[in-house]
């Protein structure tokens, strides 16, 4: 049985197609594996067939675990928040429907930072997720449950969402692959909104081929999401053995402070691997990328403050019992239902949008965004890809950064610029490095970004690099 679970999804599908593996047996084996969750990765799993409308009678492809930000008909959907405790949506997200239509049973709903706000999964109202490599460390966030489930052998693959790095950073910290597609590649209908100009759905998988397979299932325009356009070409499994003729840009000045030495070593070794595969590497100026965090922490909270206005204790979710008027009910419900990080961002966003401050904050941030997108456009005139470490550090300790929100935000330093520009970016595991404070080695992610809608070329390059890196370390299995 363990052997079955060792297969990648692409391999499992080949075995199913060849009649060597039953999709139903495969799904059952994964359901048993998911039941052994000791990482707090799952918030809900079907027990005794309690799947309601999302039950798949005859599995045809691998079961999938779903971040709890996607609405699932009749099945609890919390977005990691008390304010949605007990909520059972009357419909499923388009992404979930596509997986169900493809014949993928839903293994369960995955833990996450509340409303996808966080980089460590410690902002979940339902407790932190533990990193399978070291249970004293965070899995990253906000798709921490998704990354930990795939890395920890609790799901063959998962879907998550990425607003400023929420797929790529946890993938990096857990040693798996995470892809944030181009803004508009995948429908967001039924995906609970955080920052609508940035949010995007994407796969968290064991390898690049599985990510490509998942992207092929999920992508496409959807009449229910007017921002969705799909991808220009039907995606296929990635191919390629070398990187000949491809040009990779390293943002100038990026390898300065902030990056852990172990992360920098893995990053530089990966650049050497790219050159060995025939790729060219040169520096490019990306002068406004350093302002990404500032712009992001205006734009995302501003949009969140608007999106989260809907949680008022009237139509769904919890309502605080009060004796006063309706305003008191709203206030008591939101005070009791939202956690500290969500409150912090609602206040920041409301402030940034308030009369007299709008131009200085939101207006200015949207201009910075134009400059960052322009920097990338200039880079892509000369280069095929822009590469960075995914995260400045390996997985950090539980509680290590919770007292300093700004330090937590700086985790997103390398992932936020791509989100602001709306371009696709993938994180692949590139090696292991010792944490800054010492201890067993932990995974390091390598981020590759491509022009908008350049997913196929991005996946091909990531695949060739992945094959050459040959990352095969497993949580708990040591390695080096």
């Amino acid at each position: 049985m363990a052997e079955m679970l060792d297969l990648t999804v692409v391999q499992a599908h080949e075995a199913i197609a060849a009649g060597e593996l039953s999709a139903a047996d495969y799904a059952k084996a994964w359901a048993r594996a998911a039941a052994d969750d000791e990482l707090n990765a799952y918030l809900w799993r079907p027990e005794d067939g309690d799947e309601g409308a999302i039950a798949v009678e005859q599995p045809r492809i691998a079961p999938v675990a779903v971040k709890d930000i996607f609405c699932t008909e009749d099945v609890p959907t919390t977005a990691g928040s008390r304010i949605l405790e007990g909520y059972r949506p009357p419909y499923s997200a388009t992404a979930v429907c596509k997986l169900l239509e493809a014949g993928a049973p839903i293994l369960g709903k995955l833990n996450m930072d509340e409303f996808a706000m966080g980089s460590s999964n410690e902002n979940s109202a339902f407790g932190p997720v533990l990193n399978p490599w070291d249970r004293g460390r965070v899995p990253g966030g906000s798709s921490g449950g998704s990354a930990a489930a795939v890395a920890g052998g609790l799901a063959p693959w998962a879907i998550g969402t990425d607003t400023g790095g929420s797929i790529r950073q946890p993938a990096s910290l857990c040693g798996i692959v995470g892809l944030k597609p181009t803004y508009g590649a995948i429908s967001r209908y039924g995906m609970i909104a955080f920052a609508s100009s940035l949010d995007q759905c994407g796969p968290l998988t064991r390898d690049v081929a599985d990510a490509a397979l998942m992207l092929g299932i999920l992508q496409g325009a959807d009449p229910c999401d007017s921002t969705s356009v799909g991808l220009p070409e039907a995606s296929r499994l990635p191919q390629g053995e070398d990187l000949k003729g491809l040009r990779f840009a390293v943002p100038a000045g990026l390898t300065s402070d902030a990056i852990e030495s172990g992360v920098r070593e893995v990053f530089e070794a990966t650049l050497a691997t790219i050159e060995r595969l025939g790729g060219e590497i040169a520096e490019t100026p990306l002068p406004h990328a350093e302002h990404g965090i500032s712009a992001y922490y205006v734009i995302a909270p501003a949009e969140a403050s608007s999106n989260l206005a809907r949680y008022d204790g009237v139509r769904y979710g919890m309502r605080a019992e009060t004796s006063g008027d309706v305003i008191e009910m709203y206030e008591a419900t939101r005070a009791a239902g939202f956690g500290p990080e969500v409150k912090r961002r609602i206040m920041l966003g409301t402030y940034a949008l308030s009369s007299g401050y709008y131009d200085a904050y939101y207006g200015q941030a949207q201009k910075v965004r134009t400059k960052i997108a322009g920097d990338f456009a200039a880079a892509f005139a000369d280069f095929d890809f822009v590469v960075t470490p995914t995260s400045p550090s390996v997985a950090f300790g539980l509680g290590e950064k919770t007292s300093d929100p700004l330090a937590m935000y700086l985790n997103d330093f390398f992932t936020v610029p791509m989100s602001l520009a709306g371009i696709p970016a993938i994180s692949i595991p590139a090696g292991l490095a010792e944490p800054a404070g010492g201890g067993p080695k932990l995974p390091v992610g390598f981020q590759i970004a491509a022009p908008a809608f350049g997913e196929q070329k991005l996946l091909d390059a990531a695949f060739a690099l992945e094959q050459a890196i040959g990352f095969d370390a497993k949580p708990g299995g040591g390695g080096g």
Binding site: G184, Y297, V314, T322, D325, V326, G363, Q364, Q366, L406
Partner: protein, 71 residues
């Protein structure tokens, strides 16, 4: 939380120093042309289903405390 918010705003304030006078703000990251679709009626959620998740549904509507504070 006041101290934390000040610290974040201080960091965010760095973009105020950039000269972006003539830069157009980004409204949408991907170049798209607006399109119109036919306005065709379609089925939406049944009222009972839409009300089923409400904390206090009553007589086919969402009930809330009175807007006027009780004396």
């Amino acid at each position: 939380m006041a101290g934390e918010l000040s610290g974040i705003l201080e960091h965010v304030d760095r973009i105020a120093e950039l000269d972006l006078e003539d830069v157009p703000p980004t409204s949408h990251v991907v170049e798209l042309e607006n399109v119109l679709r036919k306005d065709e009626p379609h089925e939406s959620l049944d009222r009972d289903v839409a009300l089923a998740q409400a904390p206090d549904p009553a007589r086919g509507a969402f009930r809330v405390p009175s807007p006027q504070a009780e004396a």
